[in-house]
Every structure is written in C-alpha cells, then in structure tokens.
C-alpha cells in the first residue's frame, strides 16, 4: 500500500509540472550491475530507464530500475529481484563534449526476497532446509551520477553510477547507457 502511495505521489509530482516549461527531454536506457552494499552472496544484473527534462531551476527525472540475481536462493532476506521507481531532481553541467548529471530523490523499492530455514527434524532424524519467498516494499532514497558523451544533438553514450539507500537492501550499480534526446 505504501508503495502505491509513493508511486501516486511520484506520478502526481510529474503530472503537476508545467509541461510547457520542460525543455530538452531526454531518455536514457542502460544495462549493467547493481550489487547490494551489505552482505555476501551473488551479484545482481539489471537495467534502468529514465525520462528527464530540464527546467529553469534544474532537472527533473523519472527513474525505473530493475535488477535480478542469477542465484535463486540464499540466506535470510537474500534478494532475488528488485525494482526501484523514483522521482529525482538534479543538475546537469555541460562540458566540451559531455554532460555530467548529479541527481537524487525519493522512490519506491519493491523486491522479492528469499528466506532459508534450516532445522533438525527429530522425527525423521535429518536436517531439513526450507526456502520461502516474500515480497517487500520499502521507501528508497536513490542518487545517480552520470556522464554522457554526446555524439550529436540527439544521441549520446554514457556511464552511470546509480544507487539507493533502502533499509536492509541498499545497493550501488554501474551501468552503461544510450541517450536519446528530443
């Protein structure tokens, strides 16, 4: 429910922006990794997509990022896959060839995690292992830094470090992306 509320706030904030003031719309789509910051286990791969527009005071962007682990199970709370949808504000500095963007905001994190239990069954005199999954939904505080090399007015390639603070599920990722500008 909280995830839906956060998504509604993000959508409302986006819709309330005066569209005529937004300039230089751009879309980034990237692929890479986003391992979690704490604990051990398998790494995670995934992709992200953002839509961003420039305003007179800065830049606003809507981010979607999903990531998944190649391993299907792990320890308690091990993440199988996770998705973060966020609304971010930031600033872009234009260099000789590239654009450097720093942004941060708020979002919703949703993940499927595994819980592995091991216990000794005194009835059958054997160790028993059970793996169950659960869905978690949490508040995320994401932040990005990204650099894009512009090959033309509407096309660029770049790299981004993107991450989010999520209680018990924080992560940081490195992804390369393609930028299409309007």
């Amino acid at each position: 429910m909280r995830s839906v509320a956060i998504a509604a706030v993000i959508l409302g904030a986006t819709m309330s922006l005066p569209a005529q003031e937004i300039r230089d719309l751009r879309f980034d789509v990237g692929y890479g990794i986003a391992p979690r910051l704490s604990g051990q286990g398998r790494g995670m791969n995934g992709f992200h997509a953002i839509a961003a527009g420039r305003l007179s005071w800065g830049e606003v962007s809507l981010h979607y990022e999903t990531r998944m682990s190649s391993a299907s199970s792990g320890g308690y709370g091990n993440e199988e896959n996770g998705t973060t949808v966020s609304f971010q504000v930031g600033t872009t500095v234009t260099g000789a060839h590239g654009e450097f963007t720093v942004s941060a905001g708020l979002g919703s994190f949703r993940a499927k995690t595994t819980i592995r239990n091991e216990y000794y069954d005194y009835t059958n005199f054997t160790f028993v292992q059970t793996v169950t999954t659960q869905e978690v939904s949490k508040l995320a505080i994401p932040a990005d830094i990204r650099m894009c090399w512009n090959f033309s007015d509407g096309f660029g390639l770049g790299a981004a470090v993107l991450g989010a603070y999520v209680e018990d599920n924080s992560y940081a990722g490195y992804q390369v992306f393609v930028r299409i500008g309007l």
Binding site: M44, R54, S56, T94, I145
Partner: protein, 183 residues
C-alpha cells in the same frame, strides 16, 4: 590445520580498491595536464528550432534575439535556440584513454556474477565518471544550452562581439540589417 578468516580473504579486494581509487583520483586532480582549449574568436554552431547554423560569428544577444554573422546577418529568437557550441580546438585525445581505462575494465568486470567483483566494477566506474567529469569541467565552457543560467549568460557574453550595453547604436544598426535580411 589452516583457518581462513573472512578478513584475510577480503584484504586483497580492499587493497585493489584502494589502488584503483588513488590512481583514479590522482589522474583526476593532476593540474599539469589540463588540456588547452583555444577559442577561435567567437565562431560557433547554433542549433535552433529552424535548423542548424554552422561556423557563424556571435555578434550580439539583444532583446531576446541572437544576432549572428555567417554568409549574411541572421536574427534568431532566443526562445528557439537549443544550443550554442563554440568552435574550439582541442588536443586531448589521451583523456579518452584514461577514462576508457577505467570504464572498459569496469564494464568487463560487470559480466561477473560475484558480488565482490561487481563492487569493484562499481568503484572503478565511479572513479572513471568522476575523472571524466573533472576533465570536462576543468576546461572553459564551450557548449551553452538554452535557456542559460545567470552564470552561463555571463560566460556567453564574453563570446559576443557586442556584449550587453556596449555600442548600442551599432546594435540597432545590426538589428535593422538583420530585419532587412529577414525580409
């Protein structure tokens, strides 16, 4: 019997991270190798709603209109301008190798499914991006996106032949010439 402690296993990873960080940041802050950027007068490429003007001289920005001199005078409404890119000469191809030296290994390491290796890739990628940004931002600005901020406008004014308030009579003359060229 040998006992393996987690700290021992992680020590090489930590050391590698430290080396990567120091090398990357060292490259990023080295002032002696800041590339030169020479601006050839105030010639620029202007991208606006009506198309692209290449190699025109920036004359003035007055009354929300940019006046440029190319094959002929042209007046471009400021609202329709997307970018002004100064014609610059640069000699810093080696920056590409340094940045790619970070980003390509980081991308290669991304193919691993080991979480420790992925973390190294993230750090390398971050250092590469910061290095890239440091170099980009250490050079004079040569691309102006519109509408520019106040500081950008001051920077851009340095590249106009007639900045604000200077030789207003000439501006009016240019204005009339521009209007004549539009007709």
């Amino acid at each position: 019997m040998l006992t393996r402690y987690p700290l021992c296993r992680r020590a090489p990873v930590t050391a590698l991270l430290a080396v990567i960080l120091v090398c990357g940041m060292g490259c990023a802050v080295e002032p002696a190798r800041i590339p030169e950027l020479s601006v050839l007068g105030s010639f620029a490429d202007v991208v606006h709603g009506g198309g692209r003007l290449e190699n025109v001289e920036l004359v003035a920005l007055q009354n929300d209109t940019l006046f440029v001199l190319g094959g002929s005078f042209a007046a471009i409404p400021q609202d329709s301008i997307k970018t002004i890119s100064l014609r610059t000469e640069e000699s810093r191809t080696w920056i590409v190798y340094v940045v790619l030296g970070h980003l390509l290994p980081a991308t290669a390491l991304s193919f691993s499914s080991e979480i420790d290796i992925q973390r190294i890739a993230v750090v390398m990628g971050g250092v590469g991006i910061i290095t890239w940004a440091s170099w980009e931002l250490s050079t004079p600005q040569s691309v102006f996106r519109f509408p520019p901020g106040e500081s950008d406008m001051k920077e851009l004014a340095l590249h106009l032949r007639f900045p604000y308030g200077v030789e207003r009579s000439r501006l009016e003359q240019i204005d009339s010439l521009a209007q004549r060229s539009v007709r």
